[in-house]
């Protein structure tokens, strides 16, 4: 039918299982930045083995949600709760959330001149090991481990000896995020617009990497503007965010529909709920 062939990376049957553990449970979440309310009653439940996509227009609160989950100090939660593995995480510091298994792939990964990627990755990895009561890994064992992980994102070892993200192209920065995800093996990965600005080859590399890392025991939340990424990683659920909350949830077809028809129709259908806020 003229549809281009697209290689789906997570071809295996969906890993959804009604009996899986709930990893993340967000209830009636309200959050402000500089006194302005951005999240206005967001609800979301994510179980092990699931891939969720959160879509929505700019300013709908998608990125704010990801930062609130990771514990960015600029955002204040004013109501609601976030339970991770059944535990309230609102009082946890960002590094404690990270070592307990939450990973945020940044939309704009930061450049850190003077810190080599290798040292950064090792310090982060050892922080996780220490938090789990394990011994730190020495430099040599770590080198073996990280070389293995490089394959996931098809990165060259020379990236390890450059400063973190300094002078990296957009695609290289995003691959570096996925490398960190591969290394830290989080229970919950939130990918904040990891696909934005990527050319098709970089997008495929990133999608393939993420698909390899998704297992029946962990969960992935993809935050994206575009349906394109979802051709390569097929989500189990697609949520649409508007005005600080999730207004509707569907299957993978909803992403196609949004791509074809835009957001106006769905915002109109849910106008009542949006207006209430």
């Amino acid at each position: 039918m003229g549809t281009p062939h697209i290689e789906v990376f997570n071809k295996a049957a969906s890993m959804i299982n009604e009996n899986s553990d709930v990893i993340l449970s967000v209830k009636n979440l309200h959050a402000t930045v500089d006194g302005t309310e951005i999240l206005k009653g967001l609800n979301l439940e994510v179980k092990a083995g699931e891939i969720h996509a959160i879509m929505g227009l700019n300013g709908s609160g998608k990125s704010t949600f990801s930062k609130v989950l990771a514990g960015h100090p600029d955002y204040e939660v004013t109501a609601g709760e976030i339970l991770f593995k059944g535990q309230d995480i609102l009082e946890l510091e960002p590094h404690e959330r990270a070592t307990s298994g939450i990973f945020l792939a940044f939309q704009y990964p930061l450049e850190i001149p003077g810190v080599s990627n290798r040292d950064f990755l090792r310090v982060a990895y050892n922080a996780h090991r220490k938090a789990q009561g394990e011994e730190e890994m020495d430099v040599f064992d770590f080198d073996d481990l990280i070389e293995e992980k490089l394959d996931v994102v098809k990165m060259d070892a020379s990236f390890l000896d450059r400063s973190v993200n300094e002078g990296f192209s957009g695609g290289e920065k995003k691959r570096n995020e996925i490398l960190q995800m591969a290394l830290l093996e989080p229970l919950l990965s939130i990918l904040d617009e990891t696909d934005s600005g990527l050319d098709i080859d970089a997008l495929k590399t990133v999608a393939e990497g993420v698909s390899q890392l998704a297992t029946p025991d962990n969960a992935v939340v993809l935050i994206t503007h575009y349906q394109r990424l979802l051709n390569y990683i097929v989500p189990d659920y697609v949520h649409v965010m508007a005005d600080g909350r999730i207004i509707t949830t569907g299957g993978k077809d909803l992403a196609h529909e949004l791509e074809n028809r835009g957001y106006e129709w769905i915002l109109a259908e849910h106008k009542a709920e949006v207006a209430v806020s």
């Binding site: 510091e93 590094h95 940044f106 850190i112 310090v123 922080a127």
Partner: protein
């Protein structure tokens, strides 16, 4: 109030007082000159220069941000006796890479017992001016105190009264692989002392060496180190100069590095400053031939109420010269860091390239930085860039590291190290680099 007329008498008195103070320092210095280094012509000329000047005040542009007035209350007397230093005291300062190429001055006086000079290649001369002057007078007179800028008050004061000097003399085409370490040890006395160490480095045509100057002192009484190091880097010679200032917290350290570079020569230097109550480094490089390359890296890391000031000058007078300068300051507590960097590109210095950057990291609300990068370009066909930044640790960088499981304190430490390492990594002597990296712990 109806008394708009300022009271000039107060200022006049102060200027008189400052002149008298400078003179008292030179008088004291003169009493301790050893007979072997009478050097009457040099000393008399320098004494006249000192007598023309006053002890600097913040009214002078060159000293605007560095207030020396706390010194006026202290009667520093020239060192007259050798302090005793045990071998153990020096053990942590000696660099393993420099074994057999170490000169030790204690309070500006050569210590033959502590110096170890058995790893030098034939021809290269390293030793004390007192022991070498008789034999090589003509050769040494050509260079000693002949650098530009010798009229400046503290340089002249040193010339009036230095008691000895380290001589590093590399004959034509000699290459010294072992880094030569000059250890300037400060031993504060029961009463405030003035020490005036000096060094004379002569790298003749085609020679090459690494010279490490290490100013080291323990905590103690008020002390004044007034040091002068002259470098003559002749045609096609290559000198790497590492300067480390880690004096004790009672020390006022004023240092001059004067470098005269010949055609096609390279002078690459890294200066690191952690110590002293107040320190000032006047770092002057004069390019006197074509295609001369100068590279200056600097790091000052200070805390509490320390004060650090680097005034650099690179004068380009010939075509195809290059200057690359990166100076960084890490400032914590109530400390105050000053950088003034002049690069003067004269009309004749066509096709030159100069870059200068000063980056500052403020770690507390009370820390202060004054920075003044200056390019003075008269030539028209040149490539020049300069700049300065002052910043605090980026909250977003810290959050990024935290989001990977690294706690806030560790993240901060990592970022400060990274800032410093860009300079420390230029030091190609591993044991020195790691000692200084360890010393960074105080700021992290």
């Amino acid at each position: 109030m109806t008394n708009p007329v300022p009271a000039p008498t107060a200022n006049i008195t102060k200027a008189d007082q400052r002149q008298a103070y400078l003179k008292s320092l030179s008088q004291s210095a003169k009493t301790a000159i050893p007979a072997a280094l009478a050097l009457p012509e040099l000393r008399v000329k320098a004494d006249a220069l000192v007598n023309e000047q006053t002890f600097p005040s913040t009214r002078e542009e060159d000293w605007r941000f560095t207030d020396l007035s706390p010194m006026l209350a202290i009667d520093f007397a020239a060192v007259t006796e050798s302090a005793s230093v045990s071998a153990d005291e020096l053990a942590s300062v000696r660099l393993e890479e420099s074994t057999g190429a170490q000169v030790v001055l204690v309070n500006g006086r050569f210590d033959a017992e502590l110096s170890q000079l058995d790893a030098l290649p034939e021809g290269a001369v390293v030793g004390s001016l007192q022991s070498l002057y008789g034999k090589h007078q003509a050769k040494l007179d050509e260079r000693l105190a002949q650098s530009s800028g010798g009229h400046e008050a503290f340089t002249a004061l040193n010339t009036v009264g230095f008691q000895d000097a380290v001589v590093v003399w590399l004959p034509k085409n000699s290459v010294v692989e072992t880094p030569i370490q000059i250890i300037y040890l400060t031993k504060a006395g029961d009463s405030p002392l003035m020490a005036q160490p000096r060094a004379l480095v002569i790298a003749e045509t085609g020679s090459a060496a690494t010279v490490i100057e290490d100013f080291w002192g323990a905590e103690g009484n008020s002390h004044f180190t007034n040091t002068v190091s002259e470098f003559f880097v002749d045609t096609n010679a290559q000198i790497t100069h590492l300067r480390v200032q880690r004096e004790g917290s009672g020390t006022f350290h004023i240092g001059k590095t004067a470098v005269t570079q010949g055609r096609d020569s390279h002078y690459a230097s890294t200066a690191v400053s952690f110590g002293a109550r107040l320190s000032r480094h006047n770092w002057e490089v004069y390019q006197t031939g074509e295609q001369t390359a100068t590279r200056l890296y600097g790091l000052a890391a200070i805390a509490d109420s320390q004060h650090n000031d680097t005034h650099s000058l690179v004068a380009l007078n010939h075509p195809h010269g290059t200057v690359e300068q990166l100076h960084k300051c890490i400032v914590d507590g109530k400390a105050h860091c000053v950088f003034s960097g002049r690069v003067a590109v004269a009309q004749k210095a066509q096709l030159t390239s100069a870059s200068q950057l000063n980056r500052n990291l403020l770690l507390s609300d009370k820390a202060r930085v004054d920075t003044k990068p200056q390019l003075e370009i008269v030539a028209d066909n040149v490539k020049c860039a300069h700049g300065a930044t002052v910043s605090q640790l980026e909250a977003d960088e810290i959050f990024y590291l935290q989001s990977r499981g690294i706690n806030a304190a560790q993240a901060q430490r990592l970022l400060i190290y990274a800032f410093a390492m860009e300079i420390l990594d230029t030091m190609a002597v591993p044991s020195l680099r790691s000692a200084l990296t360890e010393a960074m712990a105080r700021w992290t």
